[in-house]
Amino acid sequence: MKRPSCLLALLLVPSLLWAAKPREIKIQLNWKPEPQFGGFYAANLAKVDEAQGLAFNPRPGGSGTPTVQLLVNEKIDFAIVSAEEILISNDRNPKKPVIALFAVYQTNPQMIMCHAEKKFESLKDVFASSVTLSWQSGLSYAQFLRKKYPKTKVKFAPYSGGIGAFVGNKNLCQQGFVTSEPLLANKAGRATRNFLVSEEGFNPYTTVLAVRKNWLEKNQELAKKVVSITRSGWVSYLENTVPTNAYMNQLNPAMDLRTAMESAKAQEKLIRPTDAFQVGEMSADRWQRLIRQLKDMKLIKTELKAADQFAVF
């Protein structure tokens, strides 16, 4: 009798261990570990995920990581994208729609940064000048601004990351996140003036957690848990950024701890505009407005419905 019971024990122990192991949730980021993803890392560090039987694993990306394409083509199940990427993807791939679960930034942190000595007061001044503007011309906000300021003397140049060219050229403005590039420029001894694109009337949700719609239909409960954990992670991060920033600094030493702390501080109001606001929430009005703007810019052709673009939990 001893032998069968030993055999049973040998079979049971690994299966029990397997059952106890939390389910890994790989989240594909579109940039390196920086405060813009703080809540996802915080959820794991604070073990909020473990309490619900999951293990968040944010996977760093880089410049141009095609997260939305990876998602559409079923290479990943969770991706960080922007609201415009979702709409453009759903316009091009109507059979494989993508849907937003959680929007980190309520106010889009994308901005144009210029040298302070240029004394620009607004983006209108920038576009009336003859500076060089380094940006990714394919970005939807770049197209929005080109349409808004059609007559301009600005020379346009590509943007390939970093602030190296900006620091060395006082006649250069560049794209960036208000939570990142201006801090790095200040650290390099350059005073800047920053102009948020959202203030120009283009304010899509950014750093959006998205999944495929067909995946969501089959995994409603899991998605609900992931959203709940993400929200708790962000609330925890906004309350105390120190441990998560220290952890992200180990993963991405390129952004030093002090800059990360400043960045985390700068993004607070962009993520939670008021204390009463529930982090990550989205509204149909905002999505509808973005759909109209992208249609006006001819970036999408089909009639998309706002309600199909995001899930409410």
Binding site: G64, P66, V68, Q69, V72, N73, E85, I88, S89, R92, N93, K96, T132, S134, Q136, S137, G138, L139, S140, K155, F156, A157, P158, S160, G161, G162, G164, A165, G168, N169, L299
Partner: protein, 251 residues
């Protein structure tokens, strides 16, 4: 013309297969566009494609000819002195091994946005094969032939023009062919960071998930490469026709 049939047949068969795969709904056109989608993108964006093609073509041509001229001149100079060769070659190897994508943003800082950076990028990427092959060709001499020239009291210029140069020609040609393809790669990499041309078009199309535009631009890029190779073959044919030194180099 007979030589063109196999690649043409393969290309047409590939295109037809893609269209059939799309009809059968087994092709994901968000990853691989059909030829008809690419053709539609050409019609829709003809002006953008034409302007971008012109810019890339110009930069590639200038970059390639600059690397050919500079590479062959350097190869000649280095073949004259062992000391110069030993001093210079490590730096040439640096140019070969450094990933252009890593230094291209620095080129923007040094040379600014625009064609200067693009041409420099093309030159850096494409010069090494010309230099290395040229040097190898100029040094690969049969001592018996040199001895024979000496017996006939040939001067250094005669040795260079009638022995070294013809013997080095196949290596020159091989180096230039490799360099032609690399010049296109260097140009596009430069355009990613400095703007303009098909590189900027690809960059912008990628951001907008326009895979049809990306493939359309890639086809035009390969046409530039093919044109350069065709140009070199024509030049080689012309040289072989004259065959001043009994030279015959087949492609």
């Amino acid at each position: 013309m007979r030589r063109l049939w196999p690649p043409l047949f393969l290309a047409v068969a590939g295109l037809v297969l893609l269209e059939i795969a799309d009809l059968l709904q087994v092709l994901n056109t968000s990853l691989v566009p059909t030829p008809s989608l690419i053709a539609a993108s050409y019609r829709e964006n003809a002006a953008d494609y034409a302007a971008a093609f012109q810019e890339t073509f110009f930069a590639t041509f200038v970059g390639f000819f600059a690397s050919a001229a500079l590479g062959l001149s350097l190869a000649f100079l280095l073949s004259l002195s062992d000391l110069a060769r030993r001093a210079f070659l490590p730096f040439a190897v640096f140019f070969q091994t450094v990933p252009i994508i890593a230094i291209a943003p620095l080129l923007v800082i040094y040379l600014g946005f625009g064609p200067g950076t693009v041409i420099a990028s093309s030159l850096i990427v494409s010069i090494f094969p010309v230099l290395a092959s040229g040097l190898l060709g100029l040094q690969s001499l049969d001592p018996g032939e040199v001895e024979l020239f000496r017996l006939y009291r040939a001067g250094p210029l005669d040795v260079f023009l009638k022995l070294r140069l013809p013997r080095a020609y196949p290596s020159f040609y091989a180096g230039l062919k490799v360099s032609a393809g690399l010049a296109v790669i260097g140009t596009v990499t430069g355009e990613f960071v400095a703007g303009g041309g098909l590189g900027a078009l690809i960059d912008s199309a990628r951001t907008q998930q326009r895979i049809d535009l990306v493939f359309g631009a890639l086809i035009l890029l390969s046409l530039i490469g093919l044109f350069l190779i065709g140009f070199l073959r024509a030049l080689n044919g012309l040289i072989n026709m004259k065959r001043p030194y009994g030279l015959l180099l087949k492609d």
